[in-house]
């Protein structure tokens, strides 16, 4: 029983974080059919903003809000620098520009801040533990679960009930048709990037809360996680991304508990091989997205 509770809490907290990461990647992919390689750097931006404002003496929540706003700006900047100028030209061009933009941000952090880890301020609550059914677990995990639930609910409301959300879903289904019916393309795409930045910023704070420091390469792991989760869940479906996040968390936690120590270090190789196999059998992932025509 204790093991079950431990396992469930682990899967839910890890899965919540993974689901949010995947959602941030898929919201852009769904509309543009383009992968944003600079997605991980949005998390890095949130982390370094926390570091830079840490001396200001502001309350933690204000600093966190500033960090999330910076991540949103970085998301919109990705659109303007890497996507908008080349969007219509070729898929490969956008993949390379977003990869270049990611390298640009990482090396800017190397050059202007430091290659060494920088300490990020964390509130007391992040280091406390709590007891649930006889299991001691960090309070951080519970916070992650609650944040994920709240954000997912908000996100679902946004996508289903607001004009912006409906327009975004329309654009994801058939971009050309949506444009013809008067949905402003650039605004929709920028909003998708802003939401992507918002999710990355919040999940970044939770992610960095696990280690307490930020380095220029911090975005790689969340990027890989988001890749795997979206591929498992279905590249085009928002529900699929969330599902994929939880499935991946389940696999990762399961492997953590079951693999012997000497194989555990190969875990990333196992999960990525799994992704490759899933793509071969079901190229569309677990959840099929909206049927639609070509990329525009």
């Amino acid at each position: 029983m204790r093991f079950t509770i431990q396992f469930v809490v682990d899967v839910l907290s890890l899965g919540g974080a993974y689901a949010l990461m995947a959602l941030g990647l898929v919201i852009v992919f769904g509309i543009l059919r383009l992968v944003n390689f600079a997605y991980g750097e949005l998390i890095m931006v949130a982390g370094y903003t926390m570091f830079l404002v840490s001396g200001s003496g502001l309350p933690w929540l204000v600093m966190a809000a500033v960090a999330v706003v910076m991540a949103i700006f970085a998301g919109i900047a990705t659109d303007y620098v890497a996507f908008r100028p080349v969007r219509a030209k070729s898929v490969t061009a956008v993949l390379i520009t977003s990869f270049a933009f990611s390298t640009l941000l990482q090396n800017a952090a190397l050059l202007f801040i430091s290659p060494r880890p920088r300490v990020v301020p964390l509130p007391e609550i992040f280091s406390e533990t709590v007891q649930i059914g006889g299991v001691i677990t960090p309070l951080r995990n519970i916070i992650t679960i609650i944040t994920a639930v709240v954000l997912l609910a908000l996100f679902a409301f946004l996508m289903r009930r607001t004009v912006l959300g409906i327009a975004m879903r329309a654009a994801a289904t058939n971009f050309t048709m949506a444009r013809m019916l008067g949905v402003p393309a650039n605004l929709i795409i920028s909003s998708a990037f802003a939401i992507s930045g918002l999710l990355a910023g919040i999940v970044g704070l939770l992610w960095i809360g696990r280690i307490g420091t930020v380095v220029p390469g911090i975005g790689l792991e969340p990027l890989l996680v988001a890749f795997i989760a979206t591929v498992i869940g279905g590249m085009r479906s928002l529900t699929g991304a969330v599902l994929g996040g939880f499935v991946l968390a389940f696999i990762d936690t399961g492997l953590n508990y079951s693999l012997p120590q000497e194989l555990l270090k190969f875990r990333d190789a196992f999960t990525f091989s799994l992704v490759i196999m899933i793509l071969l059998v079901r190229p569309e992932g677990l959840m099929r997205g909206p049927a639609s025509g070509q990329r525009t």
């Binding site: 992919f29 030209k89 990333d268 091989s273």
Partner: protein, 342 residues
């Protein structure tokens, strides 16, 4: 002269001219930079063989360079060094010590075999799915090299590889790579593959077996990457798995994209330009660090400039500097033009 022969002659001439100038100058630093350039050429041309002809971005290329480098290292490190460099090595490999030239070729072949085995099913995928799986393949190869301590010494540096790569050898391999890349581009497989790049459905409906064509190109690309890795291993003589990851991928990709992925000329010109720019910027970085103007070391400047250059090229000239035609074709056309009737 045939336009393809003209291209081959001009591009090889460029490499040979570099060798002659550098040997005449006899400056050690230039010698090392030129060797590095020739090895980059082999790698970039390998990537061009796959990416340029199939139109699919591949991130896994540098992973195969790593396979080549580690294979060659394993086969060539002298037996008495192996005890120190690789304490946990399997017994049957302990006494193997072949000539570095054999090792480099073996490196290429092993990389090609690994690519042939793992990549066939992946070649059915296009667009974003293909890119994500190739990225996945890079991560898998990196994870394996980092953790298979028995043969790679884990994440630590592997040392003791006998030096063998000099400028004439590297340049000769680079010239061979130019010829291979050109020959592949003009071969039946290359032409069919380029047709599938421009319109996958149309090419398939005319009877082109697209996955098989892509697979051939991918294996050839891995062969070149493996040979490039072997050459690099015998040049640098000690390395760790970190050398075969995202940073290196970015540099190789930058060279190809700036020059123009669809043409061999583009690959060669891009490699020359980026290497020159990179080395100058590195020199500036070193000067800045020596002068001690800043409290911390200056790092990452070169990557920032390369990233900006890549974005600028893709925005202004999405096909790179040489988007569709090889240099030989361009020269022929210029010669023909004045004869046109008014």
């Amino acid at each position: 002269m045939n336009r393809n022969l003209a291209t081959a002659a001009i591009l090889s001439g460029l490499i040979i001219a570099l060798v002659i100038v550098v040997e005449a100058l006899g400056v050690r630093v230039y010698d090392r930079i030129s060797i590095q350039l020739c090895i980059s050429l082999v790698l970039v041309l390998g990537l061009q063989v796959f990416m340029g002809n199939s139109g699919i971005l591949s991130f896994a290329h540098i992973g195969f360079m790593g396979v080549g480098a580690y294979t060659s290292a394993l086969l060539t490190i002298p037996a008495q060094m192996k005890g120190m460099a690789l304490p946990d090595l399997y017994p049957f490999l302990q006494d193997v010590a072949v000539s570095p030239y054999v090792g480099i070729i073996a490196g290429g072949l092993v990389a090609a075999v690994v690519a042939a085995v793992v990549s066939y099913p992946l070649m059915r995928l296009s667009d974003a799915a293909a890119v994500i799986t190739s990225f996945g393949l890079l991560v898998v190869l990196y994870t394996v090299t980092t953790n298979w301590s028995e043969i790679t010494n884990g994440p630590r540096t592997l040392f003791g590889i006998p030096p063998a790569t000099n400028l004439p050898l590297a340049a000769a391999v680079a010239v061979a790579a130019v010829i291979v890349a050109l020959a592949f581009r003009e071969s039946r497989v290359g032409v069919l593959l380029r047709a599938s790049r421009d319109d996958e459905v149309a090419a398939a409906s005319l009877g082109a077996h697209v996955p098989a064509l892509r697979w051939l190109a991918f294996v050839l690309a891995a062969l070149l990457a493996g040979i490039g890795g072997g050459l690099w291993g015998h040049f640098i003589t000690s390395f760790s798995p970190k050398a075969f990851y995202l940073k290196e991928t970015f540099v190789i990709l930058g060279m190809l994209v700036i020059g123009g992925p669809s043409t061999v000329t583009g690959a060669v010109v891009g490699t020359f330009l980026v290497t020159i720019a990179f080395e100058s910027l590195r020199a500036i970085e070193a000067r800045l660090n020596e002068a001690g103007l800043f409290s911390d070391q200056v790092v990452g400047l070169t990557e920032i400039v390369l990233a900006l250059a890549m974005i600028a090229v893709l925005v202004l000239r999405p096909g790179g500097l040489f988007p569709t035609r090889e240099i030989g074709t361009l020269i022929k056309q210029r010669r023909v033009k004045p004869k046109d009737p008014p």
